[in-house]
């Protein structure tokens, strides 16, 4: 899990162009949206692309994104769960 969390941090920073933020700045349990990293609705859509491109996981209903993309940890948990199924 920790390995996946670190990998995800890197991927999120690149995919969302979070230039001045380093992996150490991201707490895996902090909310990604709102207060946290200040992500917005386009970032949420971009994270859906990231899951599909890097992990082959498709999210059909963007509303599910709210739970899945709550934090880096919830993302990692979702990936682990859905890759097992596949």
């Amino acid at each position: 899990m920790d390995e996946l969390i670190n990998k995800l941090k890197k991927e999120v920073i690149t995919q969302l162009n979070l230039e001045d933020i380093s992996e150490d700045d991201i707490n895996p349990d902090s909310p990604l949206f709102g207060e946290g990293l200040g992500l917005d609705s386009i970032d949420a859509l971009e994270l859906i692309v990231l899951l599909e491109k890097n992990y082959g996981i498709k999210i059909e209903d963007p509303k599910d994104g709210k739970k899945i993309f709550h934090s880096i940890r919830t993302m990692a948990e979702y990936i682990t769960e859905h890759q097992k199924k596949a």
Binding site: D40, S41, I42, L45, I48, V49, P62
Partner: protein, 390 residues
């Protein structure tokens, strides 16, 4: 304020090649949106409104002959053909020639010949035609317009902005006639983008409906000829009154949360026209049928105290045609005023905004003298424009 008249109009869509033909379809409640499965556009099925290609080619060959052009139809791109057909229909009874110094072509488009990027390696067309000014040049040269065209590319408000810009140019006295044309076509480029935004509805779009699920794309063209000269022998005239543009200054893709900025554009356009909001007979909204856009518009209209004014969206008839939409929809407003009918808002079953806006569920028969057109788009832009019949 110097009067600017809308003296003729054209609409090309899945529903036909003339403004009156389209108005007839709107009256009978037909929609041009169908479920298509075209691999060139998308690997998925789409609810989309497409212009009849065979009919377009047939009409275009006729136009080439009529204008004694030596070029082959294959010289022109799909969008160029549609624009030329649209302008050609709108200017057929024009009292002045396009080569008159007092005539200007105003072009509205978001993506122009963007489909040329898809096959830029086939070298069928000069790669330069992907530039919007090169597209405008093709249309300009076809008709022999004397002046360099004015090109507006301002997302989904391009069409309404082109009408506003043209009417301002006419009022300033620089020109006497403006041929305002807008067009955009269905491409994989645009479809894939809206898919990535999860913005497309799986079924034909349902503007302002409680269960709306997103937008339907479409393609088409619209042309409206504006002039400071009303023309002879007509008993009634359609005037293009005041217009206004504003920006949400909030988010590049998400609309304003309050609708204040669109409301500001609406109020300024009425003020600019010297018209009270109580005089407006109906509002033709942008109404894309995405959850957030429609909500923002409902808030804006309600803020401008026009919650009881009949309101419709034409997106349910021919989808969202981007840079063409403002012109096609304004041309349909003009038809509405000529026919004294307020077309029903296609796709509406149950209003999502009771008490906030009055969406037209059935065509209304009544004198239509004053109309408000609004549009909003990516980049946070809003536009409003008033039409009046005298």
């Amino acid at each position: 304020m110097k009067a600017v008249y809308a003296i003729s109009e054209n609409i090309i869509s899945a529903l036909g090649f003339t403004a009156s033909g389209n108005a007839e379809a709107l009256l009978s409640g037909k929609t041009g949106i169908r479920i298509h499965h075209d691999e060139k556009l998308s690997s998925n099925k789409l609810a989309i409104s497409l212009v009849d290609t065979q009919e377009m080619e047939r009409k275009f060959e006729l136009i080439l002959k009529q204008n004694k052009k030596e070029q082959q139809p294959s010289f022109f791109t799909r969008l160029e053909k549609l624009l030329i057909l649209s302008v050609s229909d709108a200017i057929q009874n024009l009292p002045v020639r396009p080569d008159n110094k007092k005539v200007i072509l105003v072009l509205s488009t978001t993506k122009g010949n963007i489909d040329l990027l898809e096959d830029r390696f086939t070298a069928k067309f000069d790669h330069k035609r992907v530039y919007l000014w090169a597209l405008a040049s093709v249309v300009k040269d076809f008709f022999g317009f004397a002046n360099t065209p004015l090109i507006i590319s301002n997302a989904c408000i391009s069409g309404v902005m082109a009408l506003i810009a043209a009417s301002r140019l006419l009022r300033s006295g620089k020109y006497e006639t403006a041929v305002v044309a807008g067009g955009d076509i269905a491409t994989e480029f645009v479809i894939s983008g809206f898919q990535s935004f999860q913005a497309l509805s799986p079924e034909p779009c349902k503007p302002f409906d409680l269960s709306r699920k997103g937008l339907s794309l479409g393609e088409g063209c619209g042309t409206i000829v504006l002039s400071t000269n009303p023309g002879d022998g007509k008993t009634e005239h359609i005037l293009v009154m005041g217009g206004s543009v504003s920006n949400d200054a909030n988010h590049i893709s998400g609309p304003s949360r309050t609708g204040e900025e669109l409301s500001m554009a609406i109020n300024k356009s009425l003020e600019d026209s010297g018209i009270e909001y109580t005089a407006v007979d109906f509002i033709n909204a942008h109404g894309t049928a995405t959850p957030f856009n429609d909500e923002m518009e409902a808030k804006a209209v309600s803020l401008s105290k026009m919650d009881k004014v009949p309101l419709n969206s034409f997106k349910g008839y021919w989808g969202h045609t981007l840079g063409a939409s403002g012109l096609m929809e304004s041309a349909a407003i003009i038809q509405s005023m000529k026919l004294n009918r307020v077309f029903s808002s296609a796709g509406l079953e149950v209003s999502g905004f009771p008490g906030m806006i009055n969406v037209v569920s059935e065509t209304i028969f009544k004198p239509v003298n004053t109309c408000l057109k609004t549009a909003s788009g990516f980049g946070g832009c809003n536009a409003a424009l008033v039409f009046q019949k005298t």
